[in-house]
Amino acid sequence: MARVGEASSPVLTRDALARARMRASLVPDLLVEARRVVNTVIGGWHGRRKRGIGENFWQFRPYVEGEAMARIDWRRSARDDHTYVRDREWEAAHTVWLWADPSPSMLYKSAGATVSKESRALVLILAMAELLSRSGERIAWPGLTDPFTSRNGAERLASHLSHASELVAKPDLSILRRFSDIVITSDFLDPIEETMAWLDVLARHGVRAHLIEVADPAEETFPYSGRTEFTDPETGEKLTAGRAETLGEAYRWQYTARRQELAAWCKRLGWSFTVNHTDRLASDALVRVHAFMTADGGYASGVRA
């Protein structure tokens, strides 16, 4: 039987940039939205004249049943018989951190997938960078760049990446401050406790995170059978299964449980969690994440497989 998966060589950043541009251009809806955003931003780097996440007061509006009690502005509500909620203005120069997992496990590409996970992750990140730059947001790569604003943000980010000698496996996220966003693309295959411990600092700093799990179809479906020796690309550890097909069910259960748990955790924190398979289009994830970023307060349902 031919091998199911292989470890591909790291993708060239410029190549990824090109593909990211292409991918971004394939998302017309998103482009429209982006243009609109860009247009509003041109007037000044200040408020978007709409409510959203930010620091400045925008408006009081009546409290609607079902909203969290904690959002009630009691000082205002005490003036008359109605209860009010204080809305804030969406701050303009919003910082969005972008990060793609550089670990060796991302290099995996199975026969059924079109690209490796690393390639997909980079494309997603650079497409995000392109979109965000166009709408005037500040973008940054933790551990690599400081937040910057640029019309050609994706290109600058790609050049930073291609010149970076070595990327940290798990960069320090404590430099991220409140009211910023972070987009993390990874396969999240580490034990979930470690992932949570790593990302917990974001939750404590009030950063809104958008997790994109890049998954290879072979990882999810486990199409192996027969006597198989599995090798971990990160540690080199080996496991030999006598009859791999007997493991499939239990493995899929574990794999899905991990994803569910991570998704539930994200939902609890108010973060978005998106799954993107490498045999599907990158635009799927792109659209979803963009929707999450523009959405305010309420969050769409968590997992999309």
Partner: protein, 939 residues
């Protein structure tokens, strides 16, 4: 295998070990090469794999385990023996075993028995008869020949004896028996100590032997106590051992007749020395209690010595002829003697001053010594008895004086001839000086005492100088005249002090030397009681009383012990007369194993013509290793099985693959629960049935009513409490939950602050247990609101009670009801939320009864009386629930009587007050102080 004491029964089987490499190769057979796959989520897979993994290549340790198991089985089949013992040459026509079982064999007797058993086993394997003889048994004991089994039984039945061995006699018997069995093997199991007649005995025994096995102990560690003497200042004990080049120190303990240890002494054998002495330095009184002396750690008869009366405290009789002595004690002739002897002797004095009576009286008490202070002439009858007593061993001590000086000589009762009259030294009419006492002569008993140089003698009686005066003199004056003389009279002793016993003639009686001298004489004397008692009984024989066992313990006499003949010289220690105490409780005679001259010499092996095999006494140390090896192999097999099970995932608690499909959802739920609700899971572990109801009942404040069983009454109660709850929500901060109907016989009541109980005469009377529960509820702080709902049904006749009232009385009869009163106008109930003068329900006019607050005071004319506590009971007849009851639309269900809307409002307010009173207690009565407090604060 010289380096390892191991031998094999079937060494050929060991070739089976060559099969081990084959087994190893078989166990190492490897499966086909797997497909290699890169797989990033390996960690997740690893968790799944744990139970699935069935390694085709068994781990090295399992292979090792199995190889070890195979090797053990092969070794076990080869029948290995650890410490194999060599066979002894016990061939020939018979085996003659001569075993010493005397006192020196006792400590390691088991070892000797084991050695002998080995010899018997060897003889059994060759099938020869066994002659078994013991050297300390009775001379007529059976010696065989036996077969091996009988010999073994006899060997086990024999014990060491506390007596010396008698080799010549026993060996002669064995030799005689061997004459009919030429070419027999002889095994000598000796105790290693030489005894008399050894050479001849061995020659006799070993003359015709074909083989000789010679066994003696490696070391002669036996120590024997040879003497124990009660000396002046201590008990001297001496011990012997076989000469040994090493130094050895032992401890000897002295025991009283109850076996209690009362003194210790250390005996040190120098290197190469065979004798040692020790001293038990204890007061005289304690020494008298010694009953036996034993060496610690020597469990044999030779190390024990029993003591008899000879070492006991002496009885001393005192005689004097002066009667006026008591008035002037310091001038009494016996005063200093008594003071000197009291500490270490029993003093006996006759009751009569008449010597003819006094002397027989004294002699009846069998004193060891009699002290006569200046007694002159002794009546003839008494004198004869006295002389006989002295000759039988009594010690007579006499002091001089004017009477003695005048009485003349007495050959038997004075040690020397005296000159008539006395000598005076110094004084106004004399040129001579008072004489001091010189050194004590070395021949006398006082030789080692310090001479009393300060003592001077002014008067004395003089002895006739005779040829033997010097050897009879125990103490001299400086001019050489005897001061104390003594002489043997048969077994007894007569001592004369040539001075008076008081300080008139000399200063000796008031010196310390006087005490020492008297004490020394007492030591020399012998108690007459014991021996005499024995002699009075059966002439010359004493029954066994306490025997020394072979292990050194004092035991009751054995059946073998015979009476001991005393007086006829020294009796040897034999099996009939084992060492020990003979006599009765009143007087015993000590018969000891070893005498003072005993020497423990090692046994020398005689020249033997026949081949000799030397052996040691030892336990059989050969071990057949087949059993342990098989057991170890089985253990390894169990371990192997467990290891296989473990690797097969038998002990992991995971769902089986077949059950996983259905269990996956549940497992996922459990996993999510484990992450998000660990605390909840912990709580769930100690959940009990009924917890959900309890949590529901206590999570909100709920009003409760008693389910009477009548649906109409219960629905009205429920609707009433629901109406009250609604009113409470509207008017107060309290938001009660749904009213709860409680079954007082079964439900937990303590969750509810108040229970409304409409009395229904038609309902069944609650059981006693239910009423007891209500009682407990009231005692623990709950309140029951009884409502008879019969304000207008009693009619005008106040004497008759309504059925509901009757029922209430029945119920209350079983409750602990406090004194009641109608709500007084200043009660907290009237102010708890609304200000209410009365508490109407559907009816009006009936009072609300509450617990009488007897101690409550309202001295300051306040609106509310003070007082603690909440009434546990309220009784009304106004049908509260009827007034409160509302339907689902909030409309009143029942009309009030009279139909006054305000009455319903008042009824609801009454309910609010009651509930507030229940929940806040006397808080309101404290609130009435607020204006005053505010006023004070304002100032």
């Amino acid at each position: 295998m010289s380096w390892l004491p191991l031998s094999f029964g079937f060494p050929a089987i060991l070739w089976g070990l060559l099969a081990l490499p084959v087994i190893w190769w078989l166990l190492r057979l490897t499966p086909p090469k797997p497909q290699m796959e890169v797989f990033p989520p390996l960690k997740i897979l690893a968790r799944v794999m744990k139970k699935e993994e069935t390694p085709h290549q068994s781990p090295w340790w399992l292979t090792l385990l199995r190889l070890l198991m195979a090797a053990l089985i092969v070794l076990a089949l080869a029948e290995p023996v650890f410490n194999p013992r060599e066979k002894l040459p016990t061939g020939g026509a018979a085996l003659a075993l001569v075993v010493d079982n005397g006192w020196a064999s006792a400590p390691d007797w088991d070892r000797r028995v084991a050695t002998a058993e080995r010899l018997i086993a060897d003889a059994a394997s060759t099938g020869v008869p066994v002659l078994l003889a013991f050297t300390a048994e009775k001379p007529n004991a059976e010696i065989g020949p036996f077969d091996a089994e009988a010999a073994r039984d006899k060997l086990r039945a024999t014990e060491p004896r506390p007596v010396p061995v008698d080799r010549p006699a026993v060996y002669a018997r064995v030799a005689a028996a061997l004459e009919t069995l030429p070419g027999a093997s002889v095994a000598v199991l000796a105790d290693g100590l030489a005894s008399e007649g050894d050479e001849a005995a061995f020659g006799n025994l070993l003359g015709g032997a074909a083989n000789v096995v010679w066994a003696v102990p490696e070391r002669l560690s036996a120590i024997g106590l040879t003497a124990a003497e009660n000396e002046v200042d201590g008990f001297r004990i001496s011990a012997v051992r076989a000469a040994d080049p090493t130094m050895r120190q032992v401890t000897a303990g002295a025991f009283d007749d109850k076996g209690r240890r009362i003194a210790d002494a250390t005996l040190t054998f120098g290197a190469g020395e065979a004798e040692a002495t020790g001293r038990l330095q204890v007061p005289f009184e304690l020494r008298n209690d010694f009953s036996s002396i034993a060496i610690d750690g020597e469990p044999q008869a030779g190390a024990v010595r029993v003591l008899d009366e000879n070492s006991k405290r002496r009885r001393v009789g005192l005689l004097s002829q002066s009667e006026a002595d008591r008035a002037q004690p310091l001038l009494s002739p016996l005063y200093y003697i008594r003071r000197a002897l009291e500490p270490f002797a029993d003093l006996v004095e006759p009751s009569s001053p008449d010597l003819a009576e006094a002397i027989p009286q004294l002699l009846e008490q069998k004193p060891a010594m009699i002290v006569m202070a200046d007694v002159g002439t002794i009546p003839e009858t008494a004198r004869a008895q006295l002389v006989e007593w002295v000759q039988n061993g009594g010690t007579l001590v006499r002091f001089a004086g004017s009477k003695l000086a005048a009485a003349g000589n007495d050959e038997e009762l004075l040690p020397v001839r005296l000159r008539v009259g006395e000598r005076s030294l110094g004084g106004t009419l004399s040129w001579t000086e008072p004489q001091p006492v010189t050194e004590f002569p070395p021949t006398g008993p006082f030789s080692d005492l310090a001479p009393p140089n300060e003592v001077t003698v002014t008067r004395q009686v003089l002895a006739e100088p005779t040829a033997d005066i010097v050897e009879r003199t125990w103490a001299n004056l400086a001019d050489g005249t005897p001061l104390v003389t003594g002489a043997k009279r048969e077994q007894g002793t007569v001592v004369l002090f040539h001075i008076t016993p008081e300080a008139t003639w000399s200063s000796l009686p008031i010196s310390g030397s006087f005490v020492e001298m008297l004490r020394r004489i007492v030591q020399l004397s012998r108690n007459q009681g014991a021996a005499a008692a024995g002699a009075e009984g059966q002439a010359g024989s004493l029954a066994p009383y306490r025997m020394i066992a072979a292990n050194g313990a004092l035991v009751p006499p054995t059946p073998d012990a015979r009476p001991l003949a005393v007086g006829a010289g020294k009796v040897p220690v034999t099996i009939e007369n084992p060492p020990g105490l003979y006599g009765t409780e009143e007087g015993v005679f000590a018969h000891n194993l070893l005498d003072a001259e005993t020497v423990l010499a090692p046994l020398v092996r005689p020249r033997i013509e026949a081949p000799v095999t030397e052996m040691r006494y030892a336990f059989d140390e050969s071990r057949n290793l087949k059993g342990p090896l098989v057991a170890a192999a089985l253990l390894l097999m169990v371990l192997d099985t467990l290891a296989v099970f473990w690797m097969g995932g038998m002990f992991t608690r995971r769902p089986k693959p077949a059950a996983r499909t259905s269990g996956s959802v549940a497992a996922l739920l459990v996993a999510v629960m484990a992450v998000f609700a660990p605390a909840g899971q912990a709580d769930a572990q100690d959940a009990k049935p009924g917890d959900a109801e309890a949590i529901e009942a206590i999570s909100t404040t709920r009003l409760a009513y008693v389910l009477t069983g009548d649906a109409g009454v219960d629905s009205i109660s429920r609707a009433g409490l629901a109406g009250l709850s609604r009113f409470l929500v509207e008017k107060t901060a309290l938001e009660p939950g749904q009213p709860a109907g409680v079954d007082i016989a079964a439900d937990e009541l303590s969750f509810y602050p108040i229970i409304y109980w409409p009395i229904d005469p038609n309902a069944a009377m609650p059981t006693e247990a239910a009423i007891a529960r209500i009682d407990a509820y009231m005692q623990q702080g709950g309140t029951v609101l009884f409502d008879t709902r019969d304000q207008f049904s009693t009619g005008l006749d106040s004497g008759s009670a309504s059925p509901a009232n009757e029922r209430l009385r029945e119920i209350l009869g079983n409750l602990n009801v406090p004194p009641l009163e109608p709500v007084p106008p200043d009660h907290v109930l009237t102010k708890a939320f609304f200000i209410l003068p009365e508490f109407p329900g559907r009816f009006n006019g009936g009072p609300l009864w509450v617990e009488a607050s007897l101690e409550a005071q309202n001295t300051d004319n306040r609106p509310v009386r003070t007082g603690d506590g909440v009434t546990p009971i309220m009784i009304t007849a106004n049908d509260f629930a009827g007034a409160w009851a509302v339907d689902a639309n909030g409309d009143a269900m029942l009309p009030t009587v009279p139909a006054d809307p305000m009455q319903r409002a008042y009824a609801l307010r009454a309910g609010v007050n009651i509930v507030m009173y229940m929940l806040t207690g006397n808080y309101k009565s404290d609130q009435v102080h607020v204006p005053i407090l505010l006023e004070r604060l304002g100032q």
